[in-house]
Amino acid sequence: MGGASVQAFRGQANKMPPAATAARALSVRGLRVSFGAESSGGRTILDDVTFEVGDGAFLCVVGASGTGKTTLLRALAGLVRPSGGELLFDGQAIAGPSRDRAIIFQDYSKALLPWRTVRGNIALSLEARGVPAKDRDAIIDELVAKMGLVRARDQFPGQLSGGMQQRVQIARCLAQEPKILLMDEPFGALDAMTRQSLQDEILQLAEEKQMTVVFITHDLEEAIYLGDRVVVLGGSPATVIETIDVGLPRPRNQLTTREDARFLAYRHRLFDLLTHDQAGAAGLAARSPAREA
């Protein structure tokens, strides 16, 4: 990873503004995503979205539902083609999906292979990477232990709770050894207790592997709790309306962090931003139904 980013940095050195001296894992400049032609009922979801994610940083993206958060993440994953602007990862333009960028979908039950066991689902990533069959078991055992799936190892996804299924999806993404995790409201469908323990686990994972994470959520507190930085999307088409650097100490704690005065101040600020944005978008939303679930 070091080698790749050094190379990328060299390649970019001339074009980059002098301020951007730190390693940039991901850089989004003037991103625009439209579906279909405007004339035939298509619409622009994102316009002029610009932000940077430093190497090893945890970035959260918040916004009202239907803003285009998922579209942004899908563009980062390479599943959606930008209509304009620049998407760079490690200095390379993003042209399509890559195993370097793992995407974790919100609807875990649809993203897992129902005919494969937990072990088989994790193995899929190893098969894709071309890991020899004899080496797979050791890697799977390690991931299964890390994600608390030891007892579920030989069960099928349909036999597991939602939280366990999401753990399987995360384990499968880790098995592809990505440089960045793209998470699309991964805990949105889980109950509060499960969500909190998964939040702490993902923080620990990111810390341990020095992993860069882009985390989409509509839960403002979750964004502040997890992120080094929170990007707020708003407007229609959506753009970045605010970026907040979260100055809360790590490791974070479900009780003390959330009771911190700064935490509450951030929350207040984000809440104001989003309620204003929603009030402004209400008229537009009535005319163009949201594509995002």
């Binding site: 390479g78 599943l79 993203a111 005919w115 072990r119 088989g120 098969e127 894709a128």
Partner: protein
């Protein structure tokens, strides 16, 4: 078990009445035989091996044709299911070719392959490919999009995507098409044998009729019923088993 006993009341009753009526001479058409004669004809043709050879010949053509239709139908169906544009381009052609009765190709197929397995299997394949193709297109289209995106995100090659994601995800529905096609395969194979091809159960059926061995003819009809039932049961079993096999990597 109880269902089996209840279900066998009607066939046994029919057999008893049939046997009685033909023994008393009430039923004396050429087209009727006695159940006991049929049983002995069945037994003797099984013992001398002629029925088994004929069964093998019919199966050989039916299974070969079915196998060709499965490979062609599933692969083409998967491609067309994944590419809506290609499906729109080919759909009129498919709809034009599909209604042609497969048996109408008998003269053509005879000229191309001569008598034997080749001509029979080619006609079976033509008849079977359509239900498999159409069911596969639908099955692949119905695959959860998320799974295809997972495959994309993992940069799986097309063969890997087909084998690891598309076929297992669509398998349950494709299997329905396979079972329909298997029934068609036997029907078409026997038809070709009755009309044209001098081998297999169909040919033996027409031979028994022409030599007025009515008992043997009934015995072969009964035998066709048995193997049709067994084939369907076998395919159902294979379906369940291979779904489980796909589960364990």
């Amino acid at each position: 078990m109880r269902r089996g006993i209840l279900g066998s009341i009607i066939p046994i009753l029919i057999l008893c009445v049939w046997e009685t009526l033909s023994r008393t001479g009430t039923l004396s058409f050429d087209a009727f035989s006695r159940p006991t004669d049929i049983a002995s004809a069945l037994l003797s043709s099984l013992m001398d091996g002629s029925l088994l050879v004929a069964t093998w010949q019919t199966f050989e053509s039916a299974l070969l044709g079915l196998a060709i239709a499965t490979v062609v139908g599933v692969l083409t169906g998967a491609l067309l299911g994944l590419m809506p544009t290609a499906e729109r381009i080919t759909s009129p052609t498919i709809e034009a070719l599909r209604p042609i009765p497969a048996v109408a190709f008998m003269p053509l197929s005879l000229m191309m392959f001569g008598f034997g397995v080749g001509m029979e299997a080619s006609i079976v394949a033509y008849a079977c490919v359509w239900p498999i193709l159409i069911v596969t297109i639908g099955a692949v289209r119905a695959i959860e999009r998320r799974l295809l995106e997972v495959a994309e995100a993992l940069e799986l090659s097309f063969p890997a995507r087909l084998w690891k994601i598309i076929l297992p995800a669509a398998f349950a529905r494709i299997n329905v098409g396979l079972r329909i096609a298997a029934a068609i395969a036997i029907v078409v194979a026997v038809t070709v044998e009755i009309v044209l091809n001098p081998r297999g159960l169909g040919y033996h059926l027409i031979l028994a009729q022409q030599s007025l061995k009515v008992g043997l003819m009934y015995a072969q009809l009964f035998w066709l019923c048995v193997i049709g039932y067994l084939l369907n049961a076998a395919l159902r079993n294979v379906g369940g088993r291979s779904t489980r096999m796909l589960g364990s990597v």
